[in-house]
Symmetry: D2
Subunit: 438 residues, 4 copies
């Protein structure tokens, strides 16, 4: 049985050199063994930021390095709790928490958000299956303690009996977010994502099943939330990145459509075919990585289907869709554009995409309810004054209130530039003007 | 005709956010067009440091970002020369120099060093072919000025009539090395590769067809060379990286051997088959990228050939060879090991590799001759005192002399651990001791 | 006559190593000569952040280094304007602008804010006098161009005929503020003050006599203003710094009071005596520096007057006043405290100070009027969309609006702890409770 | 009795924000009380790098911040030893070691090296007196444990019975040096002094009464020693800094000479007079700080003695001596220069100083003897291979050997430029040529 002290502590601490945290320290045999499983190593072949490297060329870092980073921050938080002897932290949960933080992204596939959209997969459910089914990770966890696969899965699925462990891995200011802000800022090279991690770690307190923030740390949290705000608008919602995600999604949609229509691909590989046909199992899922997806695109660039071939070329050679911006929705205009696009031989379903960042799976900060009715709702950030007075941060901070639920989003209409330029003379004047075609 | 001033200057300067140089500035339409060719975009799919990401997980950056970095440093050097009005710099060569710095690595394929070793390809000759044959890059250069493809190729091949342009792109302290030291240090996270780039740029002087260093910059150059020394020993020659390169090379060797012997691969793709069979042309070469190689390894992990399958699994799951270290060569002992390995059923040609860093295509610093008899020989670093007294730096600096031609290298014997452990009882005592098997 | 091109350009560019900007570049003989005047060198003996080093021990940097930094940012902005060939920038004003940026703080004395409060001096008027009266600076400027002393003074006093030059040196996002945020963040070690200077420089545009910001730079400006907000609350308004400033001011007040009452100081120096008696001239003003003030405090710690001696000991040995915090003003309570303090032998006028940060000479951001009725009012930050649509930033940005005119300030009551502890038993219960005395 | 666990641990950890170590953590009441003594606070008024701020304007940091930094590194080393449970570290010595590291520089006065040269004071002996005589520090230590003043003094004087504690505070790679290299690099802004502190802390091992380095850390130590080498030549031995130190020393020499000759100073303060007359006691010594010295110089700039007045003006206004460089000593020539200087009315004893960096109290690295015959000799750096094989690093590392005992030093002749220029026509041709006077 595991009691928070590893049954086997490594004879000598291992370290990974990490650009964000300087070093990542591994002290437990269990953690070391998990890192060395094939499922965890596979994360090296999946980029943390999907297609963002097409906008920020430095953003080539993998989910492998992010997962180690989340683990390291969790380790530091717990170590701070233990050193300070805080009553609210259940010491025996340490290893479960470390495993959950290390493995919380294990279910991610290549370009997850796009694939999930098109094929209705969910990385969260794959995470649970990888923990619970026949994998090296499951084997390592089970050999350590038969209850570990379920316990770790419960933490990640937010059903664990100790809510504070869940809170560590999943809340508005969890180890996941703290690592990705710092890491994405480092690799993109923007300097918006930097906040004072060391100070934040010092003001966290375990309190009645939650991680809360000592009142004196309010400004540090404001700074963290502002970093998040800036990263969302400068990096995550960048319109060029959105354009590349749209291309990607359309490649998958087209492949699915063709496959459904009985099209014979000149090139195909089994895991991909199963993904497309909706029959993928865990073994094939684990064989999916970005290398396979990019190889498919290289091959499909030579397919007979013109739409698929064009989209694949666009992705590989970074000939992305251009965009125009609109402040307000205008369904009638949009329908007219679709009609005109059809009239000049374009496929509106592939050649026009209307995008609104607000629909994306991010929100800068929502105070949320503390009841977590919505499974997507992350618990809010609470400030602790005195012994036990809690207040939600947006009630205390003007800054936080100002970014809470902010929508600065505009509508972007994405489209391929060249065919429009070629057929500009056949379009009515209002459409030409909108797309700045003379 | 191009005269150093771009025929077309971009109406507004473009920038790339870059973690190493903060921003990369593009002012010329020609440079912008080159970056947007498919051959240049392909560099996004080739890692700068090959397999080093298996040792330093941050080292996932691509040759695309390095190429931009080399361009940016070259741009800064030239801009400093122009601002200071130095007589020795031929202003009309600016654009040729910028093109050469941007494109100097365009011929690299995936995991170049290993592939070059096994298939006797050379990225330098591919670079020339990409510049001179039917590619988008050739087209962009030719449209700018019909002489540009040849001129840029001549700079990269070191046959250009203005030696100072060659010196900028290829010397002991060229833009290439300055960028990769800084960049590799940034992405691995080690802090050895940092030197004062801004100061070095300020002490460079064009002088009689060479770039030399003002005497007062000697300590800055020492610091640069020490960074190089540290990076070589800490990063580039890291034994774990060497182990992964060995696995990679053996995969290619095995595939070539199998192919030569008429083996039918369950999975193959055309560019790879042509590489293996020695019939690759430029179109297929440009289709080779790391995605394709990794996809091949994933597929070959399921091949019938046990050696190939094992090697591919090892690479993908990072189950690398272990190593032992020896100070001196000992051919007799090595032969005995090979014999014993055979005796227990291993394939010495795949299961034992003896490695000596000195053989690798790097050297920390060699004063070299100034005559460049050897095409690999890079011109040495010269200090300029007064108006025109030049001296080679290792004659002036004790530090540089101490690292010149240094060999600290040891012999490493790489081998798979598990089969040895299993058959340990069948090995003689001296071999068991050597490999620390009980 | 000066025409923006220095009459004398330095034969070789000079540099200062600077931790914030890496290097500070001096290209003009005039700038070099100004830096070497005794009045400018004197800024080395005046700390940029006054007493903040008692809170943040790294904050020991001088106004000398800040002044060089303001010069360097101004130089970079102008150089960007010139390189881009923007129409709105009057090239012939370059040197005047550089002089004004270098010299804008030349009138500061030691611990300016406190001394200005007590002695009704103003560093701005001293700046003008140093430029216009008999000083080395005046001589250097006059020799360069007889009109320069007046022109430079006019820029600093905001009466110059070219408003854009004024705007560069004094606005809501001027070179002064940009340097001090970065510099103060660097030396204190907090990482709140860092924003992307290089990006901000790229989005500035001269436009109709003002420096405005290209619309696409809005997020960068938000980040800059958030840095300012954080620096104000974390550093500039830090209650411990306020406490040390209060002590300092009280020392001066006490010395003035004693002097006015005919007290004979055991130790006095002429420039200080003239300051206290209100008869200081420029020669004595320039002899005032922090060394002299601290030496005075060391000497006065041995004066017979108990109040003065105690205050000086407190300052030197960092035995600062404690404070309690109140959300709302309460004049009646405060009066009661004063009475009770008197009753136990304290001097309320020295032993109690009620402080409210809002009164301080800072405000995070005020949109201001564009008419500059109020001389203290700094012109607001304007965003430029398209060719000439301007909008004040707080109308466009929710973030900026949320920090505009924010008062989070609380009232702090500062007092010496020890005498209160000693006499706690003689105080009524409500006062004891307020000061947490049992 | 103290047992390594503080009798009083602070109820809540205190932190100082520090630019170099991010935060400095104080956990013991004793350390907190020592920091708050007036003798320790006095270190805020003494610059760490003396006159270097006249060369590197950022170098304005105090011995206060350095002392906290040495404490913090020591705390981290011990904490690493304790966490790893190394046998060789005597746990009960923790607090003594922390006190010694915090207080090792407590005896420094203003511009120590110059004052020590002229007045034959030694900061080491003042350190002992401050620990052992009637001071607040002595009182705090004694109240904690009556043996502490002597124990802490013994560590600093290297006579302590546990040599490993001495080794922590004073060796070739002690906490003192590690902090000052990082700190001086940070504040000057040069990037030579940065090495991987975290890695070095991880490879230190207590071993038979010494701190040694695990063999695998050799490259990290090389990097540390190279930083030291670069800092010495780029910062500590900078000829402009030397020039300012020479002026400073000559001011003191002149004042001493005048005082000895019965000269009546218009301005004098008691601690300074006692210093000059050799009768200074501890109370006056503690009243000496840089403020007082600079105030004296300001006052003495108006003294009747022309030599003293000129030197003081030079120091305050940074009108330093120029220098010429010679590779070899040449006593005969130097004597001729002195004669010629006299002939044109200069005072060779004040107007010519021949300086050789090798004489300065630094050496990059000397392997030293392990016997420490010479009290100044610092124990060398030893590498630990296996369980207990030790080797001195310069025997293993070519790099270290190359910088061991290196002298690149040249002779510098410092002199005031103006009087030489004025009388150039009266000097013989060889002297004119030497000083480049046409």
């Amino acid at each position: 049985m595991a009691d928070g002290q590893s049954k086997e502590r490594l004879p000598e601490e291992k370290v990974f050199k990490d650009p964000v945290h300087k070093y990542i320290y591994v002290q437990d045999q269990l953690i070391w063994d998990l890192i060395n499983t094939r499922e965890f190593q596979r994360l090296r072949r999946i980029r943390q930021l999907g297609t963002s490297y097409l906008t920020f060329h430095g953003a080539e870092h993998s989910r492998f390095s992010h997962s180690l980073g989340v683990y390291e921050i969790t380790r530091k938080i717990i170590s701070q709790f233990e050193r300070s002897g805080y009553a609210g932290w259940p010491k025996e949960e340490k290893l479960v928490a470390l495993c959950a933080s290390l493995l919380h992204d294990i279910g991610h596939g290549p370009f997850s958000h796009s694939i999930e959209d098109v094929f209705d997969a969910h990385h969260e459910s794959w995470t649970c299956r990888i923990l619970l089914e026949d994998t090296e990770i499951n084997q390592v966890l089970r050999q350590f303690d038969p209850s570990y696969p379920e316990r770790v899965a419960a933490v990640i699925c937010k059903t664990y009996h100790e809510p504070i462990v869940v809170s560590l891995v999943s809340s508005q200011m969890d180890a996941d977010r703290m690592d990705y802000l710092l890491r994405d800022a480092y690799f993109t090279g923007v300097n918006y994502g930097t906040f004072d991690l060391e100070r934040i770690l010092r003001v966290l307190r375990p309190h009645q099943g939650r991680i809360v923030v000592k009142e004196s740390g309010m400004h540090a949290v404001e700074d963290y939330l502002m970093s998040r705000y800036q990263m969302y608008w400068q990096v995550y919602f960048h319109p060029v990145t959105r354009s590349s995600e749209i291309i990607l999604r359309q490649i998958f949609r087209r492949a699915k459509e063709l496959h459904g229509g009985g099209y014979t691909f000149k090139w195909m590989m089994s895991p991909l075919e199963k993904l497309i046909s909706g029959t993928i199992d865990i073994r094939d899922y684990l064989a999916l990585d970005e290398a396979l997806v990019q190889t498919a695109f290289s091959a499909w660039a030579n397919e007979a289907d013109a739409v698929l071939s064009d989209l694949c070329h666009r992705f590989l050679d970074r000939r992305l869709y251009k965009y125009i911006t609109m402040d307000q929705p205008d369904e009638k205009l949009w329908q007219e554009i679709r009609n005109q696009f059809s009239a000049i031989g374009l496929h509106p379903e592939y050649h026009l995409e209307i995008d609104f960042p607000y629909d994306m799976p991010y929100h800068v900060y929502r105070p949320g309810s503390t009841k977590r009715a919505d499974k997507e709702e992350k618990p809010p950030i609470l400030l602790l004054s005195g012994e036990d007075h809690l207040s939600e941060i947006s009630r205390r901070s003007d800054i936080v209130r100002s970014i809470t639920g902010i929508h600065q989003g505009k509508y972007h209409l994405y489209y391929p530039e060249e065919p429009l330029l070629e057929s500009a003379h056949r379009l009515p004047a209002n459409i030409r003007e909108l797309f700045a075609l003379m």
